[in-house]
Subunit: 554 residues, 2 copies
């Protein structure tokens, strides 16, 4: 049985799910022993620890110039001392170019089989990846398991499914048979989906697998060799994916350089060298807007970006103000605000928020939000795990700086003790009330646990501001609370025009930060927060070109 046949059912289900957009997951998100095995967690932790201080020896790439690695654990504030092979960008591109002509000739079915097999292999390493993610990104255990493991694998599967579907969108051959009156003109036609060439996927420090696997698998399924350039601060989680892809390639007698890992160090970053290389045709990027915009402007490249945005919450009216405050408090605390989907600007009308129990004033809501944030932080069974640790020192500095923003500081950032990691770098949210006229303050992303409360004239002004921010500065998510159908449609339309998805009236166990594979398009591509979307058809069609040849029937 070929790998394609082995995984055919998975692929077909995934393609169906892509169109149904109801709940679908191929990989169980809960780290349950019943699913993953009784010893999977312990084994994964042991395996993770075995890498510390050692060489990551699993790659099948050769020709390294040295070994290096600069990852640090935000929980331990110590270097991991894992080293990876270092290659020149010339070696990487040369390897990719020669592997291109191998990989592009592998059929779409065989490519799909190989890629799906690699995901199955990765599944056996979800716990190892979870610990690797915790100790590079600072994510809490549960998020690290879910985001880097099953949720990333689902996003990868989604990209494979989308790519496979597009590759089969048009027939490989057709007979063009045109009646000409006295005779028929018969032409044999054929169409080839030609991959664009060398693909570079540039990772970020906070979601090293979730944000990169879509580009990696999207490029690979469509026949392009991939150079994976992780953030120097978060390598191990994605290195494990690359190693498993390389193993399956080698087992199938294919060049492992079809998917290469390109580690660099802070003192000698190779991202620009790779991106600007004439032979690099595709670039995927997650990260800051300045670098993303530089990449988008490179001539002759197809570039997919997820940059930064200013996410808004519009508060108009709600059935339950306490559940609303609790839900938003969780969203702010989650991974200490280090998600691209975390809320930042809260627009609250000066007339307050209408509820069945009466009007809740701006100040009353602010107090509720602060109380809910504190309540979660101070719950020792939840707080430390929801907040996790802070990936980058600069984020901690930004949180401290935020207290100097002109306006009332409703909540100062403080410390808390993580029971498992005494030395963790932590930061709780800072909440500042900012005057609505001070758009220079709230029109930029303040990455980290920083929330701004903005008193507006009314909900119309809230909507106008949320829309303008998204259109001018980008937005990846938006939360809105309203019990009024007309207001709801006004928000839905305004934010849709700003290409920003809205989560309405979320309470309970679902948060505006979350985007599910096979259902939520992550980033829309329609505002400055990014030009691509996980996983719409364009995300894969832009990676190859339809070329048709023809010849008259003999």
């Amino acid at each position: 049985m070929s790998l394609f046949e082995k995984h055919n059912e998975t692929l077909l289900k995934a393609i169906d799910a892509l169109h149904a957009r109801t709940f679908y997951a191929a990989f169980a998100e809960h780290p349950a022993p019943a699913v993953y095995g009784e010893t999977a967690d312990t084994d994964g932790q042991t395996k993770f620890k075995s890498w510390l201080g050692n060489k990551f020896s699993e790659l099948k790439q050769t020709g390294e110039t040295s070994w290096a690695g600069q990852e640090e654990s935000p929980y331990l504030q110590e270097p991991l001392k894992i080293s990876y092979p270092i290659f020149s960008s010339k070696t990487l591109v040369d390897n990719a170019k020669s592997s291109f002509h191998v990989w592009r000739k592998v059929s779409a079915k065989d490519r799909a089989g190989i890629l799906l097999e690699s995901l199955e292999r990765v599944k056996a390493r979800f716990f190892e990846i979870a610990y690797a993610t915790m100790h590079t990104t600072g994510q809490g255990y549960m998020m690290a398991f879910q985001a880097s493991g099953p949720h990333a694998a689902d996003r990868a599967l989604e990209a494979i499914a989308a790519g496979y579907e597009e590759l089969n969108r048009f027939p490989q051959t057709a007979l063009w048979d045109k009646p000409m009156g006295k005779y028929n003109l018969k032409i044999n036609k054929e169409w080839r989906a030609m991959p664009k060439g060398v693909s570079v996927v540039i990772g970020c420090s906070t979601f090293p697998t979730w944000n990169s696997v879509t580009g990696i698998y999207g490029s690979l399924i469509t026949g392009n060799p991939v150079i994976v350039k992780p953030h120097p601060g978060a390598i191990l989680p994605i290195a494990i994916f690359v190693a498993e892809i390389q193993k399956v390639l080698a087992e199938n007698n294919l060049d492992p350089n079809i998917c290469q890992l390109a580690v660099d160090t802070y003192d000698k970053m190779i991202t620009k060298e790779l991106a600007e290389h004439a032979d690099v045709k595709l670039i995927d990027f997650t990260g800051n807007s300045a670098f993303g915009s530089y990449l988008e402007a490179l001539p002759g490249k197809t570039v997919f970006t997820e940059k930064t945005g200013v996410n808004s919450v519009i508060l108009d009216s709600t059935d339950d103000i306490d559940k609303t405050a609790a839900n938003l408090a969780f969203s702010i605390n989650l991974y200490s605000g280090q998600m691209c989907t975390a809320p930042q600007n809260f627009y609250i009308p000066e007339g307050g928020i209408n509820t069945p129990a009466g009007n809740v004033s701006f100040d009353q809501f602010a107090e509720k939000l602060v109380a809910n944030i504190n309540g979660l932080i101070d719950n020792p069974k939840a707080g430390p795990f929801v907040l996790g640790a802070v990936q980058n020192k600069k984020t901690s500095e930004r949180v401290v700086e935020a207290e100097k923003i002109p306006g009332k500081v409703w909540l100062k950032s403080r410390s808390f003790e993580n029971p498992m990691f005494k030395n963790a770098r932590v930061a709780t949210p800072v909440i500042v009330e900012v005057d609505v006229t001070k758009q220079d303050i709230f029109s930029k992303e303040l990455f980290g646990p920083i929330a701004l409360l903005i008193k507006t004239k009314d909900t119309d002004q809230s909507i106008h501001l949320a829309q303008a921010m998204a259109q001018q500065h980008g937005a990846i998510s938006c939360g809105a609370y309203t019990t009024d159908a007309e207001v709801k449609e006004k928000i839905a339309d305004a934010m849709a025009l700003a290409a920003t998805p809205v989560s309405f009236n979320l309470t309970g166990g679902i948060y505006m930060n979350q985007n599910a594979a096979f259902s939520d398009f992550h980033v829309t591509g329609g505002n400055p927060s990014g030009n691509a979307s996980f996983t719409n058809p364009e995300y894969v069609t832009k990676r190859f070109t339809w070329v048709g040849h023809r010849e008259p029937v003999a």
Copy 2:
């Protein structure tokens, strides 16, 4: 019955045809009285003549600042003296912006019905459009009828079908129902296909409808208002399309400014003003590479281009050298080489072309090609009609200049008499043998009836050159003659890598210049000849953004 219901069958057939890619045409390409009516031709000519010296009064746009028009007939070498309303770019964009919020709220079904109805109305004016096309572009009667009438309408229908399919690619709503163990998390989700905004379609002087209707109908079906900016030399054919679209819009109580005509004059071109306007989000362009590349680099715009290329013919071996020469001679003569798909560089091995009747040398083939070109020109029943007239004086000058290219001039350009238009601007092909080392000469497009014969070491070198030209300078078409299956695959693969479709071994009534709707992707988007393709999925998906909203089930 709604317009959608009226045209539903046409739409469904077109969507099927888009995927089958076998022969399909909704509009009969032959100007037969049996199809179009006994008096259709005469009536169309009369109607065309009625515009001469008059105002084009059919548009429903208001607020013009003046009336102007500078079209000239290449057949008469006289101004047509038709004038059109002139609008400031501010008026055009303001009108488009306000009509946007009307049009985007019209359902995809109703948009499709309106657009399909407009094509049916245009069908009744195919002959008028044909004469308008002859006397602006210089095309022969048959090409003018087909390219601007039925073939353009088929391309428009193709864009409507592709857009309609993509708008329905994902459900409008879905229930996301996630098992959480003790309960199910139920979220109502909805997706909106949000049009990007004001669209500007910039026309060219040689194919004023065929090259513009795809962008016009592609933008309209996806909900964007369109400003149609024709080339100042070829307005009337597309003005008729716009007028019919406006009429159907008005009949359906919609703002006719949803599709505006934006005529300008050579002394005051408004193309850059429109393209650079902050509110213009989509740009379609057919024309020269310099302007196309300028448009592609404009930040914040989605740009679709068809620019220029260097089209090659690779001659290796053939079953019938005379039919080969005849076919290529026709391709060179057709519309005096003023098609973007016309062949320019002919690569012939120094060892000659193998045929069943023996080897045909470079010189023997050159002689045959010249003889066939002359034979066609000198056939009074065919020549003048195949060659047509020359749209632009600069093309005539370029043909004269081409005789000074260093190398043997195999055929000089000369004149001939068009029996119907004594004063027509005509130019027959010039054929020059260029040394293979002189790439600076044959690596640029020499627009017009100019063919270069290049003696290569062997077919491998021919392939290498054809591929390199396409990759570096772009190519829209390629012709190849070989009887060897291995050579054929080598050519097919090499040119596919250069994103150039190859027509193999064409003889008889089909030419490499021709691209059929619903089957041949016109331009691939994968080389410098353009970044878009009629009509692949990207051509329509890039005109709108998927935005999803969600709310927990109450």
